[in-house]
Subunit: 261 residues, 2 copies
């Protein structure tokens, strides 16, 4: 049963090209990360962007030195081969998707691993809450907002949020649970009226799929890891690499190790 593989076994399987596609549901209990890989020339600016916008860009680890493909804090990792899918951006545009980036690797590349919502969704489920996008087996709905990120060098833009509907008491509980996990987006940034953060059509997400919202539920909005991807495209860098959507870095860290308390 693939879901019972350890993170290291799963990465080996990915490295050998045996595991393809989505990592969601694999190695349960372990932290999965969004990945951004940039030339060293803009890496400092991106680091400052993350530090200035920790809710959408919660930085968990980065390369020790440019050109180093390891991330020892997160496990025995070769970032050139350990994701099931990569997106290559050239001049700010998606140029191609690859299953490894061995041939594209350069000695000036710096890797950033950012927290992802899988970790807090697991904590919500473990507390008995229902996560609608999981129940309905779709991608979480994500929306562009009117909330400005703080800019750093070429990196700027509006915050993207993900949405999960809850009844009020569960929304309050979700705030409590997610507050414990600042490195995977932390507490929600908004709840209630979507128009107040510039979302006009809750049924038409900008990314992902719509989910149903019952009459007695509030939409609850979390800062989303698509935010740095949007900032990255907007920066129109000559060269950048990210994970393909859903093809995350599976780490040896346990979700519980990210808990602040």
């Amino acid at each position: 049963m693939p879901a019972s593989m350890t993170p290291a076994q799963l990465r080996q399987s990915i490295r050998r090209g045996e595991h393809r596609g989505n990592t969601s549901g694999f190695a349960p209990g372990h932290v999965q990360c969004n990945i951004v890989i940039l030339p060293a020339a803009v890496a400092g600016d991106f680091l400052r962007f993350c530090q200035a916008n920790p809710k959408p860009c919660p930085l968990i680890a980065s390369s020790d030195t440019p050109g180093d493909a390891a991330l020892p804090l997160l496990g025995d990792i070769d970032i050139r081969t350990d994701l099931p899918g990569y997106r290559i951006f050239r001049e700010g545009k998606l140029s191609e998707e690859r299953q490894d980036i061995v041939e594209l690797w350069r000695d000036d590349l710096v890797t950033f691993a950012l927290g992802c919502s899988f970790s807090f969704e697991e904590a919500l489920l473990a507390d008995g809450l229902e996560v609608r996008n999981i129940t309905e087996q779709v991608n979480v709905p994500m929306y562009r907002t009117n909330i400005d990120c703080r800019s750093a060098g070429p990196f700027a833009g509006k915050m993207v949020v993900s949405m999960r509907p809850f009844r009020a008491a569960d929304a309050i509980r979700a705030v409590q649970i997610c507050t414990r996990f600042p490195s995977v987006h932390g507490a929600p940034v908004h709840l209630g009226d979507p128009a107040l953060i510039g979302i006009d059509a809750i049924g038409k997400p900008d990314f992902g799929d719509p989910v149903s919202i019952a009459a007695d539920e509030l939409p609850v909005f979390w800062a989303c890891g698509v935010t740095p991807q949007v900032a990255l495209e907007r920066a129109a860098l000559p060269f950048a690499i990210t994970h393909s959507p859903g093809c995350m870095l599976v780490t040896d860290l346990r979700n519980s190790q990210l808990a602040m308390l």
Copy 2:
């Protein structure tokens, strides 16, 4: 300046009959308590009621033995004289108000001190949030809800809630702040649509005064210390005593000492 008196000095002033009326704003930083005084015959049931309903009835201290007017955990207290006002209930009805209960004291009376919203309001203000009832200098609006308390002996009834409006991001912050203070009602129990908890007219509170709510604000509801008072009246006990509204027991405990973290 009276507000600069220590809790002990304030209680001495109350004991001598010099300080009359509301304790709000006095001895800032210190815990003020709702008081319920009952015959020992029903004290066990009331204790179980508090334990079963900790959000509206957060018990901070109770008498060591029946007839003992001291509450050493909370300071050098004589509960017969240290509140500015008392309400005497006979057969479940308000019978009279007094400035002390020395002549009514009995050797079977048990005192319960319950947390009050002053403590968390102070924590909200200290974090830079605006507390509307304080800004508008009125009593907080309170509402009967359709939320059942768990019953214990003669004690039962619906939860009463207090309401403070906030914009969503501040409501989320208020959840975080109040979660640290479970012994003063803790996190809100509801936010958003009042009708979902049986409140039909947000502008017409059942107790206290209405406050303004801006178009971009959500009403946020906390379990309220009026809940045990309503349960007490409903129980129609032959004899019971409470503080008069706003005339709280001022204790030596600091609000920060109640913080869970």
